[in-house]
Amino acid sequence: MLILTCPVCGVTSEETEFHAGGEAHLTRVGPAGDEEAFGDYLFTRENPRGVHFERWRHVYGCGKWFHAARCTTTLEVFGTYSAQTTEPPQAIRDRISQKRPGWIWRDFA
């Protein structure tokens, strides 16, 4: 079972108190982008075995969105952090590097 801590209200609970919101740190492609980039933005997602970054919402609690870094194979959560950021904070990346040396996720490592 996935156990998450909401960084907004500090509550730790299992996944049924939250709602998954899909992949994190997507960059929107607007009218200026070409078809392929727009198609990628809409449909192409990571499907990693290992380190993954996701958006979650504390739906039964404070109602706020946040980000979570976790492992898809062990359900280990490396950390949760604010939704108001476009990339994982360095502290979270360092923690992942300690536990999963050499990890790569999209452009982050």
Partner: protein, 196 residues
């Protein structure tokens, strides 16, 4: 003038490991705004008479309570008849602050679970660490109860008060009743009364 009535007419379940009861009508005012804003804080304190609650807690004055719902939401609990007066006081205190205060008394219901095994009953339904050391009187928690949202706090060591949506009161009462069935105590925590 119509009399306010509760959803279940004060239903009671007393034959299990804890008593489940629908409480009489309860005044509830929701206040949304920046809780760091001094005007919002002062208005909430002024209308309730209670202290400003910290994250995840509830504070109580003589006849009202203030519960922390989220970083931008408080709930003021007071006697049902006092809601219009307190709401007016709240609005006045808020002044021009960017905030919203609404009477939600009739949109919600209040139930209680009472008894030395009350923790067992709640722990079966909510993904919350309810061990005596982890959840204590004074804390306030919004969570999932079986399939619906709910919030609860402990006025005393053996009492839970549960707030849910009024339209879901029957469901919440029913799941609490099932979780409180006779002989269904889990026995994971020591009996606070010292019995077996």
């Amino acid at each position: 003038m119509s009399e306010p009535v509760t959803a279940l007419g004060g239903a009671v379940f007393e034959t299990g490991i804890a008593t489940v009861r629908e409480e009489p009508v309860q005044g509830m005012i929701t206040l949304r705004g920046d809780l760091e804003d001094s005007a919002v804080r002062a208005a909430a304190i002024g209308a309730s008479g209670a202290e400003m609650p910290d994250r995840g807690t509830i504070t109580t004055s003589e006849d009202a309570s203030l519960a922390w719902m989220s970083p931008d939401e408080l709930m003021l609990l007071c006697p049902h008849g006092e809601v219009p007066e307190r709401l007016a006081r709240l609005q006045e205190g808020l002044g021009d602050a960017h905030a919203l205060a609404v009477n939600v008394s009739d949109a919600r219901a209040l139930l209680s679970v009472v008894g030395p095994k009350a923790r067992d009953v709640l722990a079966k339904l909510c993904p919350v660490d309810l061990s005596p050391g982890a959840f204590t009187p004074g804390m306030f928690r919004r969570t999932r109860m079986a399939q619906v949202g709910a919030a609860f706090w402990m006025p005393t060591e053996e009492t839970f008060r549960v707030v849910c949506f009024r339209s879901q009161t029957q469901y919440v009462f029913d799941v609490l009743t099932v979780a409180a069935q006779k002989g269904s105590d889990v026995g994971i925590w020591p009996d606070p009364t010292g019995g077996g």
